[in-house]
Amino acid sequence: MKTGATRLATVATSAQPDVHARLEGVTRIYPPRAGHGEVHALGPISLDLRAGEFFSVVGPSGCGKSTLLDVLAGLAVPSAGTVEFEGKPVRGEVPDGVGVVFQEDASFPWLTVEDNVSFGLRRSGVDAAETKRRVDFAIGFMGLRDFRRAYPSQLSGGMRQRVCIARTLVLQPRLILLDEPFGALDQQTRLLMGDELLRLWRETSATVLLITHALDEANLLSDRIGVMSARPGRFIEIVETGWPRERDSRLAERPDFGAVTARLWSYLRAESMQALGQGSMAR
């Protein structure tokens, strides 16, 4: 997408040149409910997402990774702290320019692939020609050309996830949030989808935040990886990978690749054991 670079340029020249989205002292506490007291799910946590970077979040299960994403997307309101996207506060509403892809299949079973992809553009004010151009692009980009008229039930899990990514893509998001999007896919499909995600990230120049539990996936895809503690989740370390922008799954052959994964695991091991211990009360 050519327009990606120009869009990003306007972001970069705004008041805070480097920061695309910012969390500051964010906590999320779930009120007490029948059966348990209040749950302190997240934070306080702070993070500056740099414009155009690929940032991954890893952490033990139940550490609040998804809560972090929900707060950043405006799907959940923080109990304390502030969230900003492109310099404007985010509170309880998803800002324009933010796209989200979930782990669960979020394709609409009653719509064809084409109608799924164009869903967000209908009644959006984008004219028919532009809609068609964007939908064609997204469908082509995600390799769905042969399945335009198919319904999601006729597609594999990986293909359905492509539909969801394409549906996000037509909105030309400047920040893409992915909540374990490949969590339900097999290993080979995961690797290939990872490559496509990297290609998408390079060509759209969007900022990407990926939640994952797979350490080598985080390692392979990311510029930076935030390692979260057991609940209430905070960052215990942010690892810079230093990989070149042009990269794909063959990166795993590099001798220094394993060292980064090992480093991530060394931070995570104790936290994961702690999370297992509190597993009985995990959300």
């Binding site: 609409f108 009653w110 869903f119 039930s153 006729q154």
Partner: protein, 249 residues
């Protein structure tokens, strides 16, 4: 045709054929059941008789009104109960026990309240059919995946758009099964009500023919009711199948 279709057709043709033979050979006396071919002949004659039109239109319009009321009302009530948890908690025990009530026992009471005529029949059939639609609507809306509602928020849909473009299509399979039940129950409600206490309508005509040992007319009308209900259900069923095939369910 698939194997299942063949088996189904064979069973149907076999049963009708066996009945035909049993009646024609005298194994089943005509005072009990008449031959299926005789039923068809009687049906043609009955439909040509002068007085039948008024009965048919009375029954069918009562069914149509009860059906519309129970589908629209059931959907609206189901939607509200799904939306307002405390109302749901208050009413769900009633809904759960609802079909244990012998509704037809209240029919005389309805006549006292609404007088003779179509109104008590429509009320009875609506009461009978609406709760099926309420329950189906609630079940359908309960099962809308949360991730789709999140997706609606990401697309910043208004409440109406969310309902119209996400909740309703997602709940459609359940809504359709509620609709099928409401159709069937409306027919049952009206016709059974006419059986019990009425001076006109198809149900009354069947009962009247029965009382007068007029077997051809009785079976003709039963066949007619069967044909109409089956046709109606087949239309909904065909639509449902088309919808479900796309969804791969």
């Amino acid at each position: 045709m698939s194997k299942a279709t063949w088996i189904r057709a064979a069973v149907l043709i076999g049963a009708v054929g066996a009945l035909e033979i049993a009646c024609r050979s005298g194994a089943i006396p005509a005072t009990m059941v008449i031959a299926p071919s005789a039923m068809v002949v009687a049906l043609v004659e009955t439909l040509q008789s002068d007085d039948i039109g008024a009965h048919l239109s009375q029954t069918l319009s009562a069914v149509a009104i009860a059906m519309s009321l129970s589908i629209v009302g059931g959907f609206v009530i189901g939607f509200i109960l799904n939306w307002v948890p405390f109302l749901r908690r208050a009413f769900s025990p009633f809904l759960a026990a609802y079909y244990a009530i012998p509704h037809f026992a209240f029919y005389p009471l309805l006549i006292v309240i609404f007088g003779l005529g179509s109104t008590p029949l429509i009320v009875l059939a609506t009461l009978f059919a609406m709760v099926a639609m309420i329950l189906a609507t609630m079940a359908g809306l309960d099962r809308v995946p949360r991730v789709l509602l999140k997706t609606a928020r990401i697309h910043r849909l208004s409440l109406l758009d969310e309902i119209w473009r996400i909740r309703l299509p997602a709940a459609a399979p359940h809504l359709l099964s509620g609709l099928k039940l409401a159709v069937a129950y409306s027919f049952i409600g009206v016709i059974a009500g006419e059986f019990i206490l009425s001076t006109s309508g198809i149900g009354h005509e069947i009962a009247f023919a029965y009382d007068n040992f007029d077997n051809p007319r009785m079976y003709a009308l039963i066949l007619f009711v069967l044909a109409i209900v089956t046709t109606f259900n087949m239309v909904v069923y065909a639509y449902e199948r088309r919808l479900m095939r796309r969804r791969g369910a």
